[in-house]
Symmetry: C2
């Protein structure tokens, strides 16, 4: 198993992902929030690239969620905080997700053969799924407006460490090695790392400090959201599946 | 002084660099080779983005240098190994440089207010120059076909460490912090890091192992090449200036 980390979506175009197995990470907050929403019974999360498109497909059983400049967008039902995506709010709903980095990163990787989302919340579950598949892995960090994001890279490094335990023959690219070194440097206190990261500081300033605490809880939401037919869903045998009961 | 590292030229467009002070790093091998060429008396190094343009402006007092897939290009005078750029060959000459990553990265940053190139060969000299200027610094890693490059990032981290010694009030972005952590992890044996990097392995396979040794010698070519009017030159008071004697 070869593992490669893309530190920004700009590092590769859409066709790069064709036939690949990809994991998209946007710790703060898009993939963390989508994982929580699906675990709380959302039928699906539909990541979109353009806000106009999000507005156009909204309505009915859909909820429109996301952010611009960290804040809920006018006309949207929900912002981008995982605390808003309670079971009461999301059960059975399709959630259209538009965010600055994460939803766009998922859309960029849409041609992947297998496409998953991860965050600290579901690291071990994703590592197990990837081990089961046994394919080479691309980890796409959503980054921050095309730039490097510390929290996404540390999360990628921790995922690789979990994969390494299960796959001793793993081969790491330069960026994978670098991610592991950064994970080793920060893993002892993920919440501290989040608080001191550029994006974490902005979130604290905007009043979302509690989000960081929830998002730092490793393996607390052990689901495997996969992308298929333009939306993220849980496998039906998974706990918290969005299937109607 | 704020320092930010761009881990790939794709992280920012040309206008991003406007009014900024930028250092471009392409350890293997474009900036290392340009530094050696200028130190050996080349009048200037003209980085170009397109091979066709390189061919068009060549001739006369010009030498055409660079590589595609690590090898010298047909019709070019020189490849991309620093060993080819001896005083005998380059003194007084304008060198047109076309390479896969480095020359394009310099061209991308051309709107910078101050633009320098660095590698392990001139780290302290560049750190001193940046300290003298006292401006915020962008370090642009040329990377590898738009992807992360370990050697460029480690070099960026070592430059930041030198800047930190001289500027205790320095402020590091997430990518700067990450680069410093990687530098700490690899600084003890730069040659080993180069040998084990993806690009280093390719160069060894292509017969350029000696290049890695030369390129790993920290501060062995203490010059400050700056970009002005479309070319890289040395300041005239520097040792090894390209001025005719």
């Amino acid at each position: 198993m070869k593992v490669h980390v893309l530190l920004s979506p700009l590092n590769a175009d859409e066709l790069y992902f064709s036939e690949k197995t990809t994991v998209v990470i946007d710790v703060l907050r898009a993939t963390s929030t989508a994982i929580v929403a699906l675990n709380n019974g959302a039928r699906e999360v539909i990541p979109v690239e353009k806000m106009e498109f999000a507005m156009r497909i909204s309505g009915g059983q859909n909820l429109l969620g996301g952010e611009r400049n960290l804040k809920k967008i006018e006309g949207f039902d929900l912002g981008n905080s995982p605390f808003e995506y309670t079971e009461e709010v999301v059960r059975g709903k399709s959630i259209i997700q538009f965010t600055t980095n994460g939803s766009k990163a998922v859309v960029r990787a849409k041609f992947s053969k297998n496409l998953f989302i991860a965050s600290f919340l579901n690291l071990s579950a994703i590592a197990e799924k990837l081990t089961e598949l046994g394919e080479d892995v691309q980890i796409l960090c959503a980054g921050s407006n095309g730039m490097f994001s510390l929290e996404d890279t540390v999360c990628a490094g921790m995922l690789i460490k979990k994969l390494s335990e299960k796959n001793p023959e793993i081969q790491l690219s330069d960026s994978s090695q670098a991610s592991v070194i950064l994970a080793d440097s920060f893993a002892a206190d993920i919440l501290k790392m989040l608080r001191e990261s550029e994006h974490g500081k902005e979130l604290i300033e905007a009043g979302f400090e509690e989000d960081l605490k929830l998002i730092s809880e490793i393996d607390s939401v052990p689901v495997v959201p996969y992308f298929d037919s333009d939306s993220l869903k849980l496998e039906t045998e998974e706990k918290g599946s969005g299937e109607e009961k």
